[in-house]
């Protein structure tokens, strides 16, 4: 649908502001390495989708070092405090609508000053 101006947008659209498949990641707040939480596999798929995890192995619900490394790189790319954890500021950024092009290609990121970062799923 196209709306030609702000006043033509039905009020329902404002109420539906959280309608987003990635909103489910919010429940992962506070997860840390070593945990097995339902939903982490979907988050790994998200990171794979945008180039933060490479490799072809199945994504599991384990918060492993692969996921932690992906989070570290993501936090670096988005100027967030690098904690390796799913803190609230990181999750707020993750669930935002975004471009479908990956941030990293072949495991290499040129975001944030061309720092080369690599994450490989084992």
């Amino acid at each position: 649908k196209f709306y030609s101006n702000v006043s033509s947008i039905p009020p329902l659209q404002f109420l539906n502001a959280t309608q987003n498949a990635w909103e489910t990641f919010s429940k992962l707040a506070g997860c840390h390495i070593g945990e097995n939480i339902n939903g982490l596999s979907k988050l790994k798929q998200y990171f794979r989708r945008f180039g933060y995890i490479t490799g072809t192995n199945n994504c599991t619900d384990d918060f492993d070092d692969v996921l932690q490394s992906a989070i570290n790189t993501y936090q670096t790319n988005f100027n967030l405090k690098v904690t390796g954890k799913l803190d609230s500021s990181t999750l707020r950024q993750i669930i935002k609508p975004r471009c479908g092009n990956p941030d990293m290609i072949d495991g290499v990121s040129e975001m944030n000053g061309g720092r080369k970062l690599r994450t490989t799923e084992r």
């Binding site: 649908k1 196209f2 709306y3 030609s4 101006n5 702000v6 947008i9 659209q13 404002f14 539906n16 502001a17 309608q19 987003n20 498949a21 990635w22 945008f50 790319n77 988005f78 100027n79 950024q93 935002k96 609508p97 975004r98 471009c99 479908g100 092009n101 941030d103 290609i105 072949d106 290499v108 990121s109 040129e110 975001m111 944030n112 000053g113 061309g114």
Partner: protein, 195 residues
């Protein structure tokens, strides 16, 4: 700013690029004007020119709205989530998610046009995706057009210093312009120079 691997760009003989819309979308002139304005923003700071073609045949850039799986292996995911994607040069494919609610703004540069909402400003996304079509990757600079994310209700259409430096690294500046450093706003033009 960043580039695609290998830093692909449009070849030197291709400074006048044509773009066409997928006819099945039956886009209105208002929607097409949004893209014209978006192209103009990049044309102002580069030697590139963009002209709309009525035919897909021979067009350098093809723009279309699609839902779900649409043949390129990168399915869209419904409202919000991923909004659009674009290819690196010289492929010229710009796909937007047909399941989004798009706002066709008639200009203005305000950063937040709406409170929290699921409506996405089309011009903001178009300017970003054209950056990809020209060879830019994502940027970590939050004010840059090439920053990967945008909140529903936000509007960001003006190229930042980071965007201009990146694109001019690939193509150089506009020989008829001022380099884009202090360009005046052209928000209120009806079609921009690209059309």
């Amino acid at each position: 700013y960043s580039f695609f691997p290998g830093k692909p760009r449009w070849p030197k003989r291709k400074r006048d690029l044509t773009y066409a819309f997928v006819p099945q979308n039956n886009l209105t002139d208002d929607v097409k004007r949004v893209f014209a304005r978006a192209f103009t923003r990049w044309a102002e700071v580069t030697p590139l020119n963009f002209t709309r073609s009525e035919s897909l045949l021979g067009a350098d850039i093809v723009i279309g709205f699609f839902s779900g799986e649409h043949g390129d292996g990168e399915p869209f995911d419904g409202a919000m989530g991923t909004l659009a994607h674009a290819s690196s040069p010289p492929t010229g494919m710009l796909h937007l998610d047909g399941d989004e609610d798009w706002l066709i703004s008639d200009g203005g540069i305000s950063r937040r046009i709406l409170p929290v909402t699921t409506v996405v400003d089309l011009e903001s996304v178009a300017v970003h995706e054209i950056g990809h079509l020209l060879g830019l990757g994502h940027s970590s600079v939050e004010d840059a057009i090439m920053f990967p994310a945008i909140s529903g209700g936000d509007r960001k259409v003006e190229l930042a210093k980071d965007d201009i430096e990146g694109i001019q690294h690939l193509y150089g500046g506009n020989p008829n312009g001022d380099g884009g450093v202090s360009k005046p706003s052209r928000e209120n033009e009806s079609t921009g120079g690209a059309d």
